[in-house]
């Protein structure tokens, strides 16, 4: 069994069985990362191109390492933001890369729908590494992987997602992913940063932070962007921290063994108190490791991998 689609654009249209397949495949991948010699020949002779129209060290390096651990060649293109404003840059860049023989293209782009546009333009599989406020499926998959690994299941868990939901592609992918796997998703954030109709995606919008956190098994804290304050979407970081920041007291409202997650990079002291970020319940660093494993699984599955024995020896 493999993935039914050519690309991975988002989790909205991926069935639960395929999500499970990706998570199952990531498990042996994680073992490879732990080896002293982190290299298997699975994707030898294949080329993975990462195209980033937005600065992102974390996600780009994660994809590149994932490709390298599988022996693929990697090329990364940091497209200037100036070419984005011209629009047609994306399609032309895509055709050029495809013509050079890329086997997988990983795209990060500031505009929603860019990954889908690319996927329709080229024959090679496209992995969406974040398109505007639309989706960031590999981040959600690593969140799912981390929670499943720690809790042994996803079904029936209570997941609180806190912060700027409106502009968050991570939140959208998390909502689709966690609800598909049977978890309950609760949202809290400033009213101006909650997108309309989000309940229809299967999440519950809570009246306040306490309601969202109460009894939660996971608290996923989103990064609050300074830019949103400049846009006048909330009054200021000080008040944000008071109303929505996760500190030790608020963490106590959650289940005693609740996990604290953050897609990074963190604003310590704003959306997350330092003692929570570094506390025993935090799995933030482990998320990063799992990110590489999940991306290895994606590269493997999208290049036609279907036989897990290959990786597990």
């Amino acid at each position: 069994m493999g993935l039914s689609g050519k690309d991975l654009i988002g989790l909205q249209l991926i069935p639960a069985e395929e999500i499970k397949l990706i998570l199952d495949t990531a498990k042996p991948m994680k073992e490879i990362i732990r080896r002293q010699i982190k290299k298997v020949p699975t994707l030898r002779g294949r080329t993975v191109v990462t195209v980033f129209y937005e600065a992102s060290t974390r996600t780009r390096v994660s994809f590149e390492l994932a490709a390298k651990y599988l022996s693929a060649d990697t090329v990364s293109i940091a497209a200037g933001t100036s070419s984005v404003s011209k629009g047609e840059g994306l399609k032309d860049t895509a055709r050029t890369i495809a013509a050079m023989g890329a086997d997988v293209v990983v795209l990060r782009h500031p505009m929603a729908g860019a990954a889908e546009l690319l996927a329709h333009t080229i024959e090679a599989p496209v992995i969406n590494a974040g398109d505007g406020a639309h989706e960031h499926p590999s981040q959600a998959l690593l969140d799912l992987f981390t929670v499943r690994e720690k809790k042994g299941r996803l079904d029936g868990l209570k997941i609180a997602i806190i912060g700027d939901i409106l502009y968050s592609r991570v939140a959208r992918s998390d909502i689709w992913g966690f609800t598909k796997m049977g978890a309950e998703v609760r949202l809290a954030g400033p009213a101006t940063l909650l997108p309309p109709g989000v309940e229809k995606m299967g999440a519950r919008v809570c009246a306040g932070i306490e309601e969202a956190v109460a009894g939660a098994d996971v608290i996923n804290i989103l990064r609050i962007q300074m830019e949103r304050q400049q846009q006048g979407l909330f009054p200021g970081l000080r008040e944000y921290s008071q109303l929505f920041g996760i500190n030790r007291e608020r963490l106590k409202l959650a289940a005693p063994d609740a996990l604290v997650m953050h897609p990074g990079p963190m604003n310590r002291g704003v959306e997350i108190a330092p003692e929570v970020a570094d506390g025993v319940q935090s799995v933030i660093n482990e998320q990063v490791t799992n990110g590489v494993a999940v991306r290895m699984a994606l590269l493997y599955l999208l290049t036609g991998g279907g036989n897990q024995h290959e990786i597990a020896h």
Binding site: K91, G132, R172, P196, G197, V198, M201
Partner: protein, 428 residues
């Protein structure tokens, strides 16, 4: 030169009746309407099984000339109109330079006289450069042939300035056409704000961005006594505001576009930039309200907001693409398929909203079949099924969200001033 249109079902919006009659056209004017007419030396057109209506009038069109000739020109846009069954169009002033003075208005009128396939009525800008800062020379533009004023797409955000514009337009006896959008509310949005914008991660344009301006301009119309026409009504709230205003006696009229009564924001899934339009495609509840407004007379006019763009401009990321879709060549098919076949409007109501009512908004003596008037006549085949294929369009734009859609009802012949400009889809 004589034309005899025989055996058609004549829809007369003035008399409010549909009867089988013949129409005799002599020297570009309607000479006689009656049963079993005959005339020696006349070209006889068999209109059996077809509907014969006054020439259709689209009061919301972007011809793009001068300045954006790659998108459309007076030549190509009026051919799109002819193919769509329209004998007259009113064109919006957002050209380059903006049609904010008599010289540009004259230029458009002259170009239309030489190159146009149908009648062209320019709409002048309300403010200089449509910048929303100072009034344009509306009086001069009226002299040159402007039939109404609008800062379409660049709405006048300053209520004080809009108020003065209405006072001034009232003095001139011309209508202000309001593209109702509060730019502070819609800021940066690419589609309707709601569940679909949330799922797609696109910034939304809430219904209130339109409704606060509809409300404002109704209040200003009420105060100034100016005739105000609300362009492309797209939300249930706007329909309600116009309905209430009309009940109070405010001199307000309204239009709806075929896309706003045929499509919802669900069409945006897949990020097809042909669906990007301003005001945006709204929800099913809004579509239902627009249809209700059309049925109960709240919405007087059907207009297309024909907004052609080049393929390169539209073949980009959704947020980068310009707003607008072409509409002239699909309008009749959509009106018949979505409104007439479904019983929302009778054929007479539909034709009235495409002829008499738009003429009355602009104050032009068109849209009737009166004897002695210009022989602008549209013949529609209501039974013809066809599939929308932008490659067949006479206009330059291919940006139609209806590509591939099966429609029933198509313009069969377009006659402008007694001259056949379109016959069975071929513009002559």
């Amino acid at each position: 030169m004589k034309l005899l249109i025989k055996g058609g079902t004549v829809i007369d919006p003035v008399a409010g009746e549909i009867t089988e009659k013949d129409i005799l056209v002599v020297d570009g004017k309607i000479s006689k309407i009656g049963a079993n007419l005959s005339a020696s030396g006349a070209e006889v057109l068999d209109a059996g099984g077809k509907l014969v209506a006054p020439g259709l009038i689209d009061i919301h069109v972007h011809l793009r000339e001068p300045g954006f000739e790659a998108k459309e020109t007076v030549f190509s846009g009026t051919r799109a109109a002819a193919r769509g069954g329209f004998t007259a169009v009113a064109c919006m002033p957002n050209t380059n330079p903006v049609a904010d003075n008599a010289a540009i208005i004259s230029y458009i009128k002259n170009t239309a006289r030489v190159k146009g396939a149908v009648n062209v009525y320019p709409i002048g800008a309300i403010t200089r450069g449509s910048k929303g800062e100072e009034l344009a020379e509306m009086g001069d533009m009226k002299e040159a042939g402007a039939v109404a004023f609008s800062d379409d797409g660049m709405p006048v955000m300053n209520a004080g300035l809009m108020r003065r514009a209405m006072q001034y337009a009232r003095m001139l006896g011309l209508t202000i056409i309001s593209h109702s959008e509060d730019k502070n509310v819609s800021a940066g949005g690419a589609m309707h704000e709601g569940y679909m914008s949330t799922v797609l991660g696109l910034k939304g344009i809430p219904a209130s961005a339109e409704e606060v301006m509809v409300a404002r301009d109704i209040l200003l119309a009420e105060e100034t006594g100016c005739q105000v026409h609300i362009a492309h009504v797209s939300t249930a709230g706007s329909v309600r505001l116009v309905r209430e205003a009309k009940a109070r006696g405010v001199k307000v009229t309204a239009e709806a576009t075929p896309h706003h009564f045929s499509l919802t924001d669900e069409a945006v899934a897949g990020y097809d930039t042909a669906t990007k339009v301003n005001p945006p495609l709204r929800t099913a509840a809004d579509v239902a309200a627009v249809k209700e407004g059309l049925a109960d007379g709240t919405i007087d006019v059907i207009a297309t907001d024909h907004a052609p763009h080049t393929i390169e401009e539209k073949d980009v990321e959704y947020e980068q693409a310009p707003f607008g879709m072409v509409g002239l060549e699909t309008a009749v098919g959509l009106v018949w398929t979505e409104l007439v076949a479904t019983g929302v409007l009778t054929p007479l109501q539909a034709i009235t909203k495409l002829t008499l009512n738009p003429a009355s908004v602009l104050g032009i003596s068109k849209g009737t079949l009166g004897s002695g008037t210009d022989a602008d006549i549209t013949i529609i085949d209501p039974a013809l099924s066809w599939t929308v294929d932008p490659e067949q369009f006479a206009g330059k734009g291919r940006n139609s969200p209806f590509t591939g859609r099966l429609l029933k009802g198509m313009p069969y012949m377009t006659i402008v001033g007694g001259r056949i400009v379109m016959r069975e889809g071929i513009v002559e």
